[in-house]
């Protein structure tokens, strides 16, 4: 990516865009909020109405929300949330650290990058759930199974992004740094890290989603403790409202993760053109 040629174009685009779009006044943002609330209400009503046709077989919006409300008062629910959160965050940290270490080391060398391409491509495409029976046989329905599979799922995007990050470093920029005789620390801080962070933070974001997906899958299918198990129990008890409630809870959990991840990416990358135009 050639930032020098890219930046003016995006800035020009941002300018034209703002000149055409209405200025974001307080009144405008207030009416947007009202419209959004209205849209959510309409969506809920549609859900309620459509689920009504199934007469009790499919959870209605009201049944799901009230089931979620009831569950939120029980400690079993919060224990499940904590279990899922714990498996998720542990596996994400391990996947990110290990993936970045491997990826940056490999990406630093052209020879290693080429040598590992087929291997990484292959590993990346093995669906983590394919390994589920094997892991379950070995580790049982424990949080450890969820952890192992979740790391396996999250590590590959991180490796991929880190290899790209190391490969994409602007050669002329490195030469400039060298001819300015920057020290090693200064070079890492002002050349290598800034050009690697866009890739790394995207890797973290993708890994976060995959880790959550796999954690909940292992819980749902394998019975490791957490939100997925709660869902499996509700399903076998045929508690339709609770199924809906848990799906909502999982949605909020995912939404929280996505929002936090986007916010960290914005903060780390506040200088990057993609973030600066998106903000305008």
């Amino acid at each position: 990516m050639n930032r020098a040629t890219l930046a003016p174009a995006t800035e020009a685009r941002a300018r034209t865009r703002t000149s055409r779009v209405r200025p974001a006044t307080a009144a405008h943002s207030r009416s947007l909020l009202a419209l959004r609330v209205a849209a959510i209400l309409v969506a809920l009503l549609c859900w309620q109405w459509a689920a009504g046709f199934a007469t009790g077989a499919f959870p209605t919006a009201s049944a799901s929300i009230s089931a979620l409300w009831t569950m939120a008062g029980t400690s079993a629910f919060w224990t499940a949330v904590a279990d899922t959160a714990q498996s998720w965050i542990l596996s994400l940290v391990v996947a990110v650290v290990a993936g970045a270490a491997v990826g940056l080391a490999v990406g630093g060398s052209r020879f290693l990058t080429r040598s590992t391409r087929v291997l990484f491509d292959f590993m990346r495409t093995i669906p983590p759930v394919a390994l589920l029976p094997l892991v379950l046989l070995e580790l049982g329905a424990t949080a450890r199974s969820a952890f192992v599979l979740s790391v396996f799922a999250g590590i590959w995007p991180m490796v991929q992004q880190s290899v790209d990050a190391a490969q994409q470093i602007d050669r002329p920029l490195v030469d400039v740094a060298r001819s300015l005789r920057l020290g090693r620390f200064e070079r890492v801080r002002s050349v290598y890290l800034p050009s690697a962070t866009p890739f790394l933070s995207t890797g973290v974001r993708v890994a976060a989603q995959l880790c959550l997906f796999v954690t909940i899958t292992v819980e749902l299918l394998g019975g490791a403790p957490g939100l997925g198990t709660l869902l499996a129990n509700a399903e076998s008890a045929n508690a339709v409202g609770e199924i809906g409630g848990i799906v909502l809870a999982a949605g909020f959990f995912g939404l929280l993760i996505n929002t936090v991840m986007l916010a960290q990416q914005r903060r780390v990358l506040h200088w990057h053109p993609s973030v600066r135009t998106a903000a305008s």
Partner: protein
Amino acid sequence: MMPRWSRAVLTELWLPVLLVLLWWFASASSTSLYFPPLHASIEALHRDWFFAHFRSDLVPSLKNLAVGYLLTLLIGISAGTALGLLPSFEEVVRPIVEFLRSVPGITLLPLMVVALGLGDSMRVGTIVIAAVWPTLLNTIDGVRSVDLVVQDVARSLRLSRGKRLRRVVLPAAAPQIFAGARTSLSIAVVVMVVTESVGATGGIGYFLLKAEQDFDIASMWGTIILLGLLGYILNSAFRAVEALTIPWHRARSAQGRKATA
């Protein structure tokens, strides 16, 4: 001197070949229950999938995957284009879209079972509802970031709406649509396997589960290898289609990968 292409092939392949050989010899006399010798796994792969269970388990899986993925593309690209062309509407429904895409797709499986039963429509439906989001969101982004100058040119040339869409908007958004579609494909494969663990009478996931219950570990490893191969083939096919459809994007493919998220 070795010709250049053979050196390139050699660099790409020495490590995978070495690892497979290591696995082969290290596991050759393995008596571990969970890690059978590689030759046993490959025999199982050969015996199970070529072609004893080919028709009963591989074909149904691939059919559901194909139907589900085509629907995913159709819905994701058309809804994404519509939302991308209607920015003020998109702004209003954004919280809903953000919430829906945050729901881990797999939790919708019980709901889909309740709504659609245990048949193939449930499997296809779950694939679509879990895999559609990356395509949808990337299409919105791609359509919205079409260069405004180019749009002005198209307008001043008085291109009709349909022509503008086909000639200007979609080609410009194509790289990002492809990036999303690739993520959707890998999600679709995973979800395909998962849905077959519920009430299925055939399919790769069903076969895997049965092998687990029978403690047929070699068959399990064979199926894992099959799934890895399948993923690899699908990914390579996807790349080929991408290179044919948007050849101008090739030089910037590294950047495209960054946009995958």
